[in-house]
């Protein structure tokens, strides 16, 4: 029985359990729901959970542990002589796994039969050829011990699968029975099922934490490799960024960090006021008809691929700013500039600020507005002094979202602000950001194990830490400011 079938069987038992549990609860109360502690559906859910959760957990653990246990035993069959120079036991075990699953495929494809496999040896069969025939890749020629190990692995796996099916289904049935026996009118079924839902909610919020851990884990290894090749002091304090193809590069993060903060700042300077005013106008002034058209329309701005914005910056905005602004004022010659990228990115960020702010402004109770109007306040006074403070937490969330997006944006910056790292105050000069450099260093021609490529990981991790700091700061400020409300 394959793992998929076992899982399906368990779920089927649980679904049956739901209905049985529900009707049993009803019966136990003589059909009178009032006699029950919880609604009958909750009893059904409880039986479902008792049947499914332990069994599925056991299945999952089994699926993870089983290969480890079996491999532990099988790896004894591989002798040190079987391990070629430059290879390792792990690689051979990967082959063993691949061959054994390949044998399965071959059986399914009809290239081999079960009895054939039992007597399989390299003299009577071209195993590699057979496997290749069914599309299974094997790294190198198969050694006898490896083949034996694979056959044994396959047999053990099949046996273990069988045990697993029996155990899992048994657990499901036991859970089913236990839950049913618990199903009495005074059984707190709702609490059980709510506890289960709550643990689901908790698990969901762990996804975010796991993602963070995953990001750090996937960056830290190569970052440490980078710092082995390139001094950390130079990375953090060197004021130039000048990677060379052939090595000997200057890889200082400071100019990139400056560019990141500068471009994001400029983008927010455009996006936040415009977005906020759009939100205010839509929720407080506009008719519902205008609102129902404009709001989704503005949201389209968030859906236009950034490459379009990039081209817009490159072809339209950049030359415009250069010809009518930078050159006449003597501020520069460059058609790529922080201002170009910031302006265009600002457009993209408008809906991030406007839509969410509009929702939270709309959620401020009408009685707050009434209170203010009743005192003779104008609409704008009401907005500024009553509604915005009341909606502040949500608005901050919206701005954080926009700022985050600004920091993480690539395409617009490449095309709008250029690729040259520079430390300058002039917004009409070309600069670049950390994100741009992560992308460009990661995808290119230089060899992977060079500081020029690995620096991407260090940049990613540094940016992660820096934004973490900024977020802590933001939370602190919001908390402090928010304290006087609520």
């Amino acid at each position: 029985m394959s793992a998929g079938l076992v899982i399906l069987a368990v779920i089927a038992i649980a679904i049956v359990g739901f209905f049985v549990g529900r009707s049993r609860a009803l019966n136990s109360a003589g059909g009178d729901i009032r006699q029950l502690h919880s609604l009958p559906g909750y009893y059904g859910q409880a039986v479902f959970l008792f049947s499914a959760v332990p069994a599925l957990l056991v299945t999952a653990v089994w699926l993870i542990l089983q290969p480890m246990m079996i491999e532990n035993r099988i790896s004894d069959m591989i002798l040190p002589t079987d391990i070629a120079e430059g290879s390792s036991l792990e690689l051979i075990m990967a082959d063993v796994r691949r061959i054994s699953s390949g044998l399965d495929t071959a059986v399914v494809a009809g290239a081999l039969s079960e009895p054939e496999i039992e007597t399989l040896n390299l003299d009577n069969t071209d195993v590699r050829g057979v496997l290749a025939g069914v599309g299974v890749a094997v790294a190198s020629d198969i050694k006898p011990n490896v083949l034996d190990a694979s056959v044994a692995y396959r047999a053990k796996t099949a046996a273990a699968r069988g045990y697993m099916a029996v155990v899992s289904i048994a657990i499901a049935l036991v859970g089913f029975a236990v839950a049913l026996s618990l199903t009495k009118p005074d059984y707190r079924a709702r609490n059980v099922s709510e506890a289960a839902i709550k643990s689901l909610l908790v698990l969901s919020s762990f996804v975010a934490i796991l993602t963070t851990i995953g990001i750090i884990a996937s960056l830290i290894f190569e970052t440490s490799n980078f710092f082995r090749m390139y001094p950390a002091k130079d990375f953090f304090f060197n004021l130039t960024w000048n990677p060379q193809f052939t090595g000997g590069s200057d890889l200082g993060i400071i100019p990139l960090l400056w560019g990141t903060l500068y471009v994001s700042f400029v983008a927010l300077v455009f996006a936040v006021p415009i977005g906020l005013f759009v939100a205010i106008y839509l929720s407080e002034y506009a008719s519902s008809k205008v609102r129902s058209i404009v709001k989704p329309a503005v949201e389209v701005l968030a859906g236009i691929p950034t490459i379009v914005y990039g081209l817009f910056a490159l072809i339209t905005v950049g030359p415009l700013l250069r010809d009518y602004f930078a050159q006449p004022l003597g501020l520069g010659q460059s058609s790529s500039s922080v201002l170009t990228a910031g302006l265009v990115m600002g457009i993209m960020l408008i809906p991030f600020v406007s839509s969410l702010s509009d929702d939270v402004i709309n959620a401020v109770p009408q009685s707050m507005r009434d209170g203010s109007y009743g005192l003779g306040a104008t609409q704008s006074e009401t907005v500024k002094q009553v509604i915005l403070p009341a909606a502040l937490p949500g608005i901050v969330g919206a701005i954080i979202l926009a700022a985050s997006r600004a920091i993480g944006e690539t395409m617009i910056v490449v095309m709008g602000a250029g690729a040259a790292a520079k430390l300058s105050l002039n917004p009409l000069e070309a600069m670049t950001t950390i994100t741009v450099k992560i992308v460009s260093q990661l995808t290119g021609d230089t060899e992977f194990a060079s500081p020029e490529t690995l620096v991407a990981f260090a940049l990613g991790l540094s940016l992660f830490v820096i934004t973490l700091g900024l977020n802590v700061l933001a939370l602190y400020i919001v908390r402090k400011y928010r304290e006087q409300y609520e």
Partner: protein, 314 residues
């Protein structure tokens, strides 16, 4: 997995897609999946190991590095086949309505280097116009869009143009080190392009007086917008590159993971099809697109047929 998977150089990507498309049409195998991402990234991916969730072929616009081979070895990818299938020319072009140029490497060095030789001494680059560099050139402000330092094209530009110019102007003797010749001025006259040739083209569109660096094939598809500059009086074309007259060019490769040959359906056939005369020959579709066909193609075909793995780098 029943299709071939390929990744790597964006320079090789168009050729690989042309081959993949024709392969899918003419063979009973599914069309291979071809990815870009850059030569370095492609080789890294190939070296991640053996198995269906790793790629079969890495395209590369430069030769594989020893560090890549080592990485491959530690991950069990012991045998690699190196296939060189042609050359790529690198050209200098500007907006079609502007003046045309005839450069020498020395002109480029004098235009872009951080330090140039004036009266036998190294000074910070004072040149503002092309005419300052070479009186024969147009009196137009210097503005060059060159590939970013992550591009293989930049390596060729550094080696074949800057270093040659460095030597020709005598700066090499004063600088002492070849690498020092690569240092470019930072006053915004030389602009690195991290993106692709399309971005360079768009930038030329926004800055009509600039000169951009392109691949030969890209230029050939845009002859109505670009005017190409000669180098040492040689007009770039597939012929002049193939003959070696036009100096700025580089070989193109792809690397095949031998462990997957004969295992991934269609891999062997794809590799053979790629280097066949029908595709990579001087009259094939690749050449039509702009590939400079490899004069030694038949040797490559033999090597592929025999499955000869790559010898250690020397």
């Amino acid at each position: 997995r029943d299709q071939v998977q390929i990744a790597g150089s964006s320079t090789v990507l168009p050729y690989a897609t042309i081959v993949a498309e024709a392969f899918g049409e003419n063979f009973d195998f599914p069309t291979p999946v071809v990815e870009g991402g850059g030569s370095g990234a492609g080789r890294k991916k190939m070296c991640e190991g053996v198995g269906p969730n790793t790629i079969d072929i890495a395209n590369s616009s430069s030769r594989i590095k020893q560090s890549d081979i080592d990485l491959c070895a530690t991950n069990g990818v012991s045998e690699i086949m190196e296939v060189r299938f042609g050359y790529d020319g690198i050209v200098f072009a500007s907006d079609i309505d502007g003046p045309s140029f005839g450069f020498t490497p020395a002109d480029w060095f004098n235009a872009l280097a951080a330090q140039v030789v004036v009266d036998g001494k190294l000074v910070a680059n004072p040149n503002k116009q092309w005419a300052d560099v070479n009186a024969d050139l147009a009196a137009q402000d210097i503005l060059a869009f060159i590939p970013g330092t992550k591009h293989g094209t930049r390596e060729v530009f550094d080696k074949k143009v800057l270093e040659a110019g460095c030597k020709a102007t005598g700066a090499l003797d004063l600088l002492g080190d070849k690498k020092a010749c690569h240092a470019l001025r930072t006053d915004g006259v030389s602009v690195d392009i991290d993106g692709d040739y399309t971005e360079t083209l768009a930038r030329l569109d926004a800055n009509k007086n600039a000169i951009g660096v392109f691949g030969l094939s890209f230029y050939q598809n845009n002859t109505d917008k670009l005017v190409v500059a000669t180098m040492d009086n040689v007009v770039p074309s597939t012929e002049t590159v193939a003959s070696g007259e036009y100096p700025v060019s580089r070989p193109l490769f792809f690397y095949v993971k031998k462990a997957h040959l004969g295992v991934i359906p269609g891999l062997q056939e794809y590799v053979e099809f790629f280097v066949s005369d029908d595709m990579a020959g001087p009259d094939g579709p690749l050449a039509e697109y702009g590939l400079v066909s490899d004069p030694e193609l038949s040797a490559t075909q033999d090597m592929v047929a025999n499955g000869t793995p790559m010898q250690p780098l020397n």
